[in-house]
């Protein structure tokens, strides 16, 4: 896939360590490491910026982002955005559980900002078919404040949700078709 990108050698070199963990085809095979294929570039720039500036402490990303220029952040985000989107798992999932979780997602209007297909927009990330355990950890961290969002939106919207509901939302998004 990378061969089809108009990326120069320097960018390829910078991307290589990203893709080693996050997956060369946009889909991560590693626990707690998110898939980045087709991610919204504005979102990626913000996250890389927060890592670089140590506003989000998350080993090893602070070291990985150290020394990247603003132009690097934008180039990396643009390159990741054109990788293929992560695919849903082969197992379609428990349909009754998915129906309940879909209703929960719509009730909480996840599908407004993240869009009905959960592909995200602008600074709001794609979450469709993200790794389930990563989604759950992220939701829990936003809710407890262990992870600071770039703004307060996720802290606000997760306040009323129970942990069981976070489990269900993660299951639903990770099985999105």
């Amino acid at each position: 896939m990378l061969h089809s990108l108009a990326v120069d050698a320097a960018l390829s070199q910078k991307l290589a360590p990203c893709l080693a963990c996050h997956g060369a085809e946009g889909q991560s095979q590693t626990e707690n490491v998110p898939s980045l294929g087709a991610q919204q570039p504005q979102y990626t720039v913000i996250q890389l910026f927060l890592f670089r500036e140590k506003m989000n402490i998350a080993d090893p990303m602070n070291d990985m982002a150290k020394g990247l220029s603003d132009d690097d952040l934008q180039a990396i985000a643009a390159a990741l955005a054109v990788l293929p989107a992560p695919q849903p798992p082969a197992d379609p999932g428990d349909s009754a559980r998915l129906d309940g979780a879909r209703a929960l997602a719509e009730q909480n209007h996840c599908n407004v900002c993240h869009r009905p297909d959960f592909s995200g927009q602008n600074n709001i990330p794609r979450v469709a078919d993200q790794r389930e355990e990563y989604l759950l950890k992220t939701l829990r961290d936003y809710k407890t404040g262990a992870r600071h969002g770039y703004d307060a939106t996720m802290a606000e919207v997760l306040q009323p949700l129970s942990d069981v509901q976070l489990v269900e939302l993660s299951y639903y998004l990770a099985h999105h078709r």
């Binding site: 504005q42 720039v45 913000i46 910026f49 927060l50 500036e53 506003m55 603003d70 952040l73 934008q74 428990d94 009754a96 559980r97 129906d99 309940g100 979780a101 209703a103 929960l104 719509e106 009730q107 909480n108 209007h109 599908n111 407004v112 900002c113 869009r115 009905p116 927009q121 602008n122 600074n123 709001i124 404040g145 600071h148 969002g149 770039y150 703004d151 307060a152 939106t153 802290a155 606000e156 919207v157 306040q159 009323p160 949700l161 129970s162 069981v164 509901q165 489990v167 269900e168």
Partner: protein
């Protein structure tokens, strides 16, 4: 677009002559630090939709903030707009798109400051610039006659509020207020000392505006930790403290969120902008311009009354907007009025003296964006609003932002500084008829 903006500006409704109609709610609130309450969203949660059942799983009742969001919002594609973490290059700033009244001129004062927010000027001319969602404070100091940007502090938690008084810089973060004495001599080795930390940790509306009052006290907001909710006793208020952090008092109650305050230069009355709730409708409620005539007593209605004239559909039952202090002006739905400053300088024409400049950051919770401008409110002798006129327009182009105005401050020569957190820049606005004439030749 500019035509639409202008039309909408003309449509600003003024609530004039409301002085004397103030009322306070019955519940007495002690003018001191209340205890920390549990989360405002401690709404009982219904059974999660996790149990597989025959047919569709039960749908949980929506929590308060979600009840406020209509299903149709999906098609409207509305989401909060955040400022980028990377500043716009100086040659890409939208100066040529901005429109000002005749003989006013706008130029770039300083750029390269991601999320430039609140502005303050030190005694020696240093311009301090805060950030809302970043961790830093910038200083723009003159170096060989040219403004030079320095980052003087990092590692702060949403340090939106800054104030300068007798050489000391005060900084209001999410949950604490600190100071740097003699700050203009410490731009390269600034170290902040905490003076007050009796503040809740909520991130929603956790950023603060900070100003020193004529009584030498620090005034700041503690916002509602939600879009719409029953706030804990620690929140939805303006507080004041002594310059050493002692003697906290509640100045005003029932306030959703403030990001701009200033004291009238003559009457010394506190005025502030207030942002109202989202997801009520496209055209309601109106954001507000308020003033505090009864410190410690005034209640501005949150969460019972929205915009000064609508009983909230969730919390307004059993209440009337007549119970609360009315705004002195409505500033448009979702327009997000932030910074506001009385003009005390000599450069602008005399008609602007003691008028209020208000930066409307611009809407997100509305299909067709409005705001994205600076307006000027001229007052009557009694301190109520006589008229509101556009001052700088053009930050919205094709329903997208090319910039977002946040806060204003005055240089010693009477010119205006204006921050733009979308581009990470500060502009300078001057007045001078001669300049215009010579350009036209």
């Amino acid at each position: 677009m500019s035509h639409t903006l202008h039309t909408r500006l003309l449509g600003i409704v003024l609530l004039a002559a409301v002085a004397g109609g103030f009322a306070t709610i019955a519940t007495p609130v002690e003018a001191q630090q209340p205890p920390t309450n549990p989360s405002p969203s401690a709404t009982p949660l219904t059974a999660p939709a996790s149990t597989p059942a025959t047919g569709a799983a039960p749908v949980p009742a929506a929590p308060p903030w979600a009840q406020a969001r209509p299903d149709e919002a999906v098609s409207a594609n509305l989401a909060p707009v955040v400022p980028p973490p990377i500043a716009t290059a100086p040659d890409k700033l939208p100066l040529s798109k901005l429109k000002l009244p005749k003989n006013f001129h706008i130029e770039v004062f300083a750029s390269g400051m991601p999320q430039a927010r609140s502005l303050r000027v030190g005694d020696k001319g240093t311009v301090f610039v805060s950030t809302r969602l970043l961790d830093r404070i910038y200083a723009v100091a003159s170096s060989n006659g040219r403004p030079e940007v320095k980052t003087i502090l990092t590692g702060l938690h949403w340090p939106n509020g800054i104030a300068v008084h007798n050489g000391t810089l005060y900084i209001a973060e999410l949950n604490k207020i600190s100071k740097i004495d003699n700050v203009e001599s410490h731009l390269d080795d600034a170290k902040a000392t905490v003076i007050y930390s009796d503040l809740p940790n909520y991130e929603p509306h956790g950023w603060k505006f900070l100003v020193v009052g004529p009584d030498n006290r620090l005034y700041f907001n503690v916002g509602a930790p939600c879009n719409i909710c029953m706030p804990p006793a620690t929140n939805a208020q303006i507080r004041s403290i002594n310059l050493d952090g002692s003697d906290a008092q509640i100045v005003a109650h029932g306030i959703r969120q403030v990001v701009g305050m200033d004291f009238h230069p003559a009457s010394k009355v506190l005025y502030f902008t207030e942002n109202q709730r989202d997801w009520l409708s496209e055209d309601q409620p109106q954001d507000k311009l308020n003033r505090v005539l009864n410190p410690g007593k005034d209640n501005f209605g949150f969460p019972y009354c929205d915009g000064g004239d609508i009983e909230d559909p969730i919390y307004g039952w059993g209440h009337s907007c007549s119970e609360f202090t009315k705004p002195i002006a409505q500033l448009g739905p979702h327009t997000a009025p932030l910074g506001m400053r009385f003009y005390t300088g000599q450069m602008f024409p005399a008609s602007y003296r003691n008028a209020i400049f208000i930066a409307r950051h611009g809407s997100w919770n509305k299909s067709h964006k409005i705001g994205g401008d600076v307006v000027v409110a001229h007052l009557k002798p009694d301190g109520t609003v006589k008229s509101i006129e556009p001052f700088i327009t053009g930050f919205i182009e094709d329903n997208n932002y090319v910039g977002r105005p946040v806060d204003m401050e005055w240089l010693k020569d009477g010119s205006m500084l204006l921050s733009d957190d979308y581009n990470g820049a500060v502009y300078r606005i001057t007045y001078g008829p001669q300049q215009q004439v010579s350009r036209g030749q």
